[in-house]
Symmetry: D2
Subunit: 414 residues, 4 copies
């Protein structure tokens, strides 16, 4: 009935908007925003909000820039008033002084965003708006403040407690599947047949987080292969024509691709929750699964070696030694691992489990890491401890095997 509903809704709204629209046609988006914020009640809020979102959607790039500039400069906090309120509150912290302070320390643009979000479907449009904003922050660094406000709001709205995990399968609506094709960021999906190979066999799974207000927009998804033993080659995993195995015969789940979908949700982390939830769900479904690992790229390896003036050797063992060394010892000034994927999984409490030469023979795989890939292991009994050591002391958890490989390089260097 959705099209029908849409139609009627339009008819209804036209009738309903009748009284209010004429007055607003001549007003600028900035004036409309001021109306929306100032309007004490909420009676015409939805109409106003819809009008603003429609206006925004029709804007050219430079108009959007001007709109963001307006939000940055005119909808920020009033420092003088805030200071006074802070003094009053400090002198006598009570309901009234606290409320006055709280009203001032939050910039009006946050309330504006909340009021825009009254409109059904607005959440996705606001996420899009932030994606636009982020594309401009290089040129307009002052927009970073507005961005912090949106990010703050979105972190609250997209709180883990509000997200829904859904399996993505060959029974999923095409509308969502085509987005999976587009959003896949690690190993490109080349066609619907390629997609089907990752979804339909009983030893392949995919899961995504959704938000109830954006039901056909995945936020992040992970692709999983169920295997006997740990995979050491992404090409083998994705091979066309391979024979699927019975899911219940698998002992290992390999997370071979994790993709964030929404540019407008940058900086809001879902990956750790997603992996833990999928580990939990697969454990329930398939008690035979004993090992949960990734098969991950090492995107920074070649670049780092170049910086170190050290070419990647051709010998697979030497490749593995250098990779192990890089993953466990190469650190940024802030003490974190150089490799971004390592940072993510180690931060989640995983450990560096094994490295494999010749594991990704695609052009991209060879370019970024000479074809070497790595398994990060998610061991539920160790995950908290690993995470805490990593978070507090920067300790990188690694298997004895990986340690041994890495120490070969250290000894050599010494």
């Amino acid at each position: 009935m959705s099209l029908f509903a849409d139609l009627l809704s339009t008819v209804f709204e036209r009738r309903y908007r009748g009284a209010t629209e004429p007055d607003r046609k001549g007003r600028s988006i900035e004036e409309l925003c001021a109306d929306l914020i100032s309007n004490a009640g909420e009676v015409s809020g939805t109409e106003l909000a819809r009008l603003i979102l429609d206006r925004y959607a029709a804007m050219e790039w430079e108009e959007k820039r001007a709109f963001f500039a307006y939000l940055t400069t005119s909808q920020g906090i009033d420092t003088a008033a805030t200071r006074t309120a802070l003094d009053t509150y400090e002198a006598g912290p009570n309901k009234a002084s606290y409320r006055a302070l709280m009203d001032l320390v939050e910039p009006p643009r946050q309330e504006l965003a909340r009021r825009l979000n009254q409109v059904p479907g607005a959440t996705g449009q606001l996420v899009e708006m932030r994606a636009d904003l982020l594309r401009m922050t290089d040129k307009n660094p002052e927009f970073a403040m507005l961005d912090l406000d949106l990010r703050h709001l979105f972190a609250s709205w997209f709180n883990r407690g509000f997200l829904v995990l859904r399996p993505i399968s060959w029974e999923t609506p095409a509308e969502i599947l085509e987005k999976i094709i587009v959003y896949e960021a690690v190993h490109a999906i080349h066609s619907w047949d390629d997609l089907r190979r990752r979804l339909q066999p009983e030893d392949r799974r995919c899961f995504a987080f959704f938000h109830p207000s954006m039901p056909s927009e995945p936020l992040i998804f992970v692709e999983v292969a169920l295997t006997k033993g740990i995979s050491t080659s992404i090409q083998d995993l994705l091979a066309d024509g391979r024979a699927p195995m019975a899911a219940r015969a698998a002992d290992t789940a390999v997370f071979y691709s994790i993709s964030n979908c929404q540019a407008g949700l940058a900086g809001i982390s879902f990956g750790n929750s997603l992996i833990k939830q999928v580990v939990a769900d697969l454990s329930r479904e398939l008690p035979g699964l004993k090992t949960f690992v990734t098969l991950s790229p090492i995107p920074g390896l070649t670049r780092w070696l170049e910086k170190e003036g050290r070419p990647l050797p051709g010998d697979p063992t030497a490749q593995r030694q250098l990779s192990a060394h890089y993953l466990t010892n190469a650190k940024r000034p802030d003490g974190g691992p150089v490799d971004p994927v390592a940072r993510f999984h180690l931060g989640n409490g995983a450990r560096v489990h094994a490295v494999h030469a010749g594991a990704d023979t695609s052009a991209n795989g060879l370019r970024q890491s000479g074809g070497v890939m790595v398994n990060y292991l998610y061991d539920l009994a160790q995950i908290t401890q690993n995470h805490e050591r990593f978070a507090t002391a920067g300790t990188v958890a690694a298997s004895p095997e990986v340690r041994a490989l890495a120490s070969a390089v250290s000894l050599q260097d010494a």
Copy 2:
């Protein structure tokens, strides 16, 4: 599968918690909260959050009071640091200074609440927590600050854009229906049969707002009677044994009961959105509906008359004149109507449409208003204008008939 899922989930969590629980058993809820806030990553956040919520759920009243006291005093804002950050920001407003300021002006207890909300089902528990808190604010007025923080968060989480309108019917799960019985606040539902009379006939409707994270908890609901002409007696509307009419023959929808369900969401207004949405949906479904009115109590009438030293006369016409006068002219010091139900509907843009003597002959109806009830009219073409005049100038919209009744009293008084 839900029970099964629960079971397995418990098994799984026991396995999973194994490593972490022992260390935490000895820690107080305050220490756990500090852990949860300080924990930079989110790896063990869910476990911690669940532990805190479980502890809270098992607390006695005085333990809860102590916990709220802790949140009030130890998780508030740091005014000295905030003032410094404010100075820095004012001197150079940029990403770093803004972020530093924003981090300080939000009390840590807000982030604590967001982290607690990671746990599936936590949203409802946090709403319950605020309900507990509100029961204590009389005795502990300092808790009002904590309450403002929760209310601020909840206003964001329960934003109109996240709510879902669902019809409540005889096909609704019993689990939800029994809550409707409990939550009905205007005209008590005495039994399942009484409930059925309000849901099953085709000329009776009920709608509720739900939040996706609390799928079996209505937030607010409205009961509607479809009628020919405007009802003038609640007893007639609810009479057992009355003959239902065909829904498509109705020309009027009477909103005869609106009940908020969640004490913990006090101060977050859904009523206006609910009525407007229901008007919209019913308009679509039944194009024959031309009039949308309430049949509302006048809860403050008797009390006000007493204060005025004016007994309610026995004569129906005189009763109606005094009621019209009270609804349109009796004001609070702040300029708003004395009557709380009038404040609500006039604030929504409705107008006082008609008053009826003998309309509620129940004990409660006679006590609060001598049996007089009132229709507020929701006319979509007038609603915005009414609302704006009411919000800005305190103008009470009323029908000519009601005006005439009211002026009879004014003349008399003059």
Copy 3:
């Protein structure tokens, strides 16, 4: 949207029926049936079918009797034509002769019922029609032929492969729950609270078969208690205020009530499939369940004892001996057990597992069996063998304990 759909559907149909109705108003239901059958195509079939069903629904009892008489006499098979077709077929069995024969051996009233069933919702109405018919067969034994035809059709339509098993819980729509209250045939449900006690605790379950075309009408349902050990008292099982146990701590599932819901589906057996399916589903959900038993009434005990001129003794051991004897040895002329509940469960492959005195102290329980109840055990490893021995040789499967009890009586008698 269902009401809306209904409304529009009515509008649409009025428009649509326009052309056809006038001609049909004057026609009798018999003429309409003849039209429906004769109509080679199906174009106006739905309209005609609806008209016939509407007419039927509005009939008085005697009109229905006349209608059934018409179907019995005028819509039966043509024996002369059948004999000719049989000869032709026997002389040359081929497509044409077989089709001709098949067309004749099926009475037209079967095709009539299929055509009536084109109308959405008709299946339930046809089931109701048979319920009416069955109420008349005592007085009109000739209707048994029409009944055989309906039963034949229904056995095909309500084939196990078309049924859907659904849990009945406190989350089930009230509309269905109120039918559970009405249809419960073994231990009456006295109120919604009583119902809740059988559905909501985690150690209580209920399951029903539904047909997709009658989605709010249960066909048969079973109530289950999860327990530690085998229950020996129905009053204990149903006690108000008892403390529920954790479902996963249970080792036994007790089927304490099975009720057929549709009088019009008499003679079409669902019970065996239902029990087997529920045993399978519960086994999956709760692997701790090791024992699946009923706690069943012995409805024929007192009556049989009276016939035997043997009063039920007061001593519990003697009661149990006589009950064991009755269940295992008392046979009908056709070799089947006298007790109808025993016939059902033994026919399903269950065995008589234990008998308990004082197990049903309700007025009804005392009247029918002096309060004695019986457990029938469903042991999946034995079920087929038990069933086959019972079906072929009339052998009653029983536990050694029950055998011993029974033999005490035999010895005594001998």
Copy 4:
């Protein structure tokens, strides 16, 4: 959870089958069928049925032929016994004699098919079985009798009252969409992009009938274009890059493709019901739709002209005249139209509304009808009358315009 369910179900069944399988391994499918039929009870029926279906699924072509031969010869009716029963019934028609007769006139293979259908998922497998059978009837005409039995059963199981109409859209599971691609029989769908063009734009619709027991298998589907005025070219309708129109601006719904999906349901007609239902649903959704027409091929035109020794002229007007003549006047010996598509739509009560030259310029379109296509009009006010005249007198309903075109040929011929 389906895979999980499968897994557990298998585990469970292994446990359960334990007792029964050994005995059956050595038995032939014919013996198993005899067991299934003879087994008075239903206890082990499901297991037996599953075993038979599994055996069948693993058979080679010639084994299937042997199995059908067995069903044809050994599971047919017993004519001698039937004659005796017929005599008995004729002599005394009562419940016993009628039941005996009915039991004999239905060949045992019908009951066999019903018992096979106990297994979840069996319905689809039985439909497949009939598809196999139909592929053999040319070589084995004696199988036509078995086919008549299956068709008779399926007509009952796939009764209109049991079917569910579902829209097929871009939100439909990929699993179903890929079947739409495969089953499209009129204008081939070349890719997922081509499919999307027929589903996603708001002026394109698709609807299919499903049976609840085969939820991912469409039975028949129709593709619809919403247009302003009646389409005269299929290539225009399906053009890539065309601009969609607003659905509510359309005044016409064009049914441009209807495809049956299940070879095993041949001879069971859904098309008429589907079209009528879709007309009804679209009328409700889009009250602006005034005209419901097909844009149909004329598959028999070229062939008929060849037989008539009359080449299709190049002149569009002459083409249209001949097409109109063919559609309205070319009859088979039985009086029905020569053209199969014409037979279908005229049989449904549609009329020949307009013919268009150059309407299908595809290779196939040019070959079968020189590119001419036809609109059949579904006018709800005329449909019953048209159908009845067609069914009784063979009258072809046509628009005055088509009549005029056709009469040009008749005059010419005369």
